[in-house]
């Protein structure tokens, strides 16, 4: 348990401003693309 927590802290310490900026940019672009586009998805699940 303590080992897992230490691993989490180690991973979290590697997250810096650049990583957050990348995540935000991808989320922002996903919103823009989803909002701008209007394709009709049909395959796989069929019409909902």
């Amino acid at each position: 348990m303590k080992n897992t927590f230490n691993k989490f802290l180690f991973s979290a310490s590697k997250i810096n401003k650049v990583h957050l900026q990348i995540v935000w940019s991808l989320i922002a672009l996903a919103m823009l693309v989803l909002g701008a586009g209007a394709p009709e998805d049909v395959g796989g699940v069929g019409i909902r």
Binding site: L26, A30, L34, A36, P39, E40, G43, R48
Partner: protein
């Protein structure tokens, strides 16, 4: 959702190119991000968020779509200097034009829909009706559509297991999103990756 593929492919391409050139990949930095969130919110409530989209009538949903895309077009205009944004803005403008010209929803050409859907399902939907609460499309005969070449009319290739029907505007949006991420932010300092490695080694 198929357009998200261009975001994923663009991000992977941009990241791969940056690694190859020995620099840090930096995605675009948007100006006025609040406008993007405010612009997307009406669509998210009216089309994407399951608990709320069923509460919206067709009239309110179409108003949300037009309002949302108008705000997003403004956001794109304010960020037009970013690589790829002019293509994305062009696609958005084309989609918005055909949506407004046809009553507030994206027309889906019935002849194209018939290539992917059984006729009995098309009969259930009916011409002029929305495909579903989650869809921005209404089914229309091509002859009844204003600007039919801008409507959802192009069918994905047969070798794609995931089938979809898309518009000319969607193509420009996909190209723009890909370029935005593949090119990334301009003026990325060359050799920054090496400097970062040096700093890590020293610390």
């Amino acid at each position: 959702m198929i357009l998200l593929l261009s975001v994923v492919v663009g991000a992977l391409t941009g990241w791969g190119l940056a690694r190859w050139q020995g620099r840090i990949w930096q995605p675009p930095s948007f100006q006025y991000p609040a406008l993007l969130v405010i612009g997307f919110l009406p669509q998210w409530l009216a089309f994407y968020f399951e608990p709320t989209r069923r509460l919206f009538s067709d009239e309110v949903a179409s108003a949300c779509l037009v309002l949302s895309q108008t705000l997003l077009l403004g956001f794109a205009g304010l960020n037009i200097s970013l690589s790829g944004l002019p293509f994305l803005a062009l696609g958005l403008a084309l989609n918005l034009l055909v949506i407004v010209a046809n009553g507030g929803f994206m027309p889906l050409v019935a002849e194209s829909a018939a290539r992917l859907l059984p006729q009995d399902i098309l009969n259930l939907i009916g011409y002029g009706e929305r495909i579903s609460h989650a869809s921005k499309d209404i089914l229309m005969m091509e002859s009844a559509i204003r600007f039919p070449w801008l409507a959802d009319r192009f069918v994905s290739p047969d070798y794609f297991s995931y089938r979809f029907i898309f518009s000319l505007g969607d193509v420009w949006i996909a190209i723009g999103a890909f370029l935005l991420l593949a090119v990334g932010r301009k003026h990325t300092p060359q050799g920054a990756l090496g400097k970062e490695h040096d700093q890590q080694n020293h610390s």
